[in-house]
Amino acid sequence: MSIDRLLTTERVMGIETEFGVLHADLEDRARAGAGSSILLSHLVVGAYALLDPQEGERGRRVRWDYGDETPLRDARGFELQRAAAHPSQLTDEVRDAHVPSVEMDAPLAGPEVAPDGDDAEVLAWAAQRSLGNAVLTNGARWYVDHAHPEYSAPEVMRAREAVVQDRAGEEIARRSMGILAAADGIPEVALYKNNTDGKGASYGTHENFLVDRAVPFERVTAAMLPFLATRQVLVGAGRVGLGTRGERPGFQLSSRADFMEAEVGLETTLNRPIVNTRDEPHADPARFRRLHVIIGDANLLEESTFLKLGTASLVLAALEAEHRTGRAILPDLRLVDPVAAVRTISHDPTLRATVELVDGRELTALQIQRAHLDAIAAVADRDDAETAQVLDSWAELLDLLEQDPALAADRVEWVAKLQLLERYRARHGLEWGDPRLSMIDLQYSDLRPAQGLFAKLRAAGAVRTLVGQDEVDAAMTTAPTSTRAHLRGGLISAHREHVPSAGWDAITLAGPDSGYRLRLADPRLGSAAWCELHGIDLTTDPETILDALRRAVSAS
């Protein structure tokens, strides 16, 4: 088959994770139920954003800028506007003075600047203030969403980068728990990287991918449904219990499967769809669509995250290439009932279950994934290192799972969890309905080093790793270089006092005479390479940076 250019994994992408949040103390936990989850979420966000010395000046956070109602459609994708307010308002006592789009978290109760005092006093202020948002030095958004702390990792261009940034979010969550544990009179918190409490509540781990707007959304939907419904055999995190409340005993591949109720739709908290239509690209909407994927599980196993992002990016690259060239790449794998297929596949750890295709065939999830792999491998760029790595991982894991799922126990997360549970079941002679197995499922994702069972598997070498701990540690305070996150995080890192707010596509920088708001409607602008090209050195003084940005605007 000939296409104009071979497919790679390169694309703007990112992961956002809502953490489970509970009192660490079991008596407090039993007493509070879910009633304190919002308070605990505010403490978690405030602890890291205001108090961790590695994050920056104590008590000073960068506020979240939601972006504008009027999207920037400028073909250059870049502009610099004078902000509406005097710089004194931009740096002190900020309250929506300069731009209407800056967050409106709870009604202001007291001063915006954190008080002097010990950690407990600052945390009490954060809780009373309902502190709900911060932009971190690594370019991430760290905030309260509904009743969960959420880490929206900075946007990246590659699956491996996404793994590093996702792991950095786990470490930030750990540091936040550590700060709360050390503060007198403040509740100690436990955070879980999972997706359900097993009692009907689910919270998400969402992936975002920018896609060429020219590809018709109906085509995206038709192609993504069979891909997303079946990929759980490779990247599911595993779950004890069947049904949203775990009402039937057993084990299933995916923690999110039972919460998917529709094929396509806008909602994320009710009637959740396999393909979500939320379309806020945080970029030029004439050029980009953001595909918001909500079906995915929270993965702790790094290869699962890598494969999840890498394969989805390749499928989207195939769709873009099909649209550009008019030549078909992906086979027709439309399912008769995708929502039912998600559950059928998730509920069968033998992987033998078949689902019906519109063309009448009955195929297993492994066969459907293999068909995707074969079609994409034929037109993928194997000279691109990450693309080759994704294709190899995809093929190797399909081979292992076809032969015997147990062979993939160190690389496929649901298999790793199932093997742990089966060993424990055998040792103690337990039925699947035993609460000890549900407890293992929950404690598996506990992010506290001493309690988390995945951490034990990892430390014992029972699961493989993909990235180095040194990279992960660095990514907590250093933004990825490949996107505008570099400019956002770099400015916050070097000049926090001059950056009152930032968002995905906007950064406000306070100069000596006025404030300026940068708009970056293409996420690839603002990368380290882009900054170098335009002579923008983020370590120099803000006025020099503003001059360089002005030159960049007039040159583009």
């Binding site: 991982s393 060993r423 929950l442 034990k456 014992a460």
Partner: protein, 62 residues
């Protein structure tokens, strides 16, 4: 994915975990390793599973 692209267990986790990893061999690949790992997991599990599971209650999110 090639073996070379994957790091060994020693690159991850906290210091405490690295000490465990350094002793090595605690995988499910050997019966002894599996037993050791299950012992360790038994030691960190909460004692009252029923209460633990019942009190793990969250509000729904996205």
């Amino acid at each position: 994915m090639s073996q070379q692209s994957l790091n060994g267990p020693g690159t991850g986790g906290e210091d405490e975990q690295n000490e465990v990893a350094a002793t090595g061999g605690q995988t499910f690949a050997s019966a002894q390793g599996a037993d050791d790992l299950l012992d360790e997991i038994d030691a960190v599990l909460e004692s009252n599973a029923e209460t633990f599971v019942r009190s793990f209650v969250q509000k729904g999110g996205q």
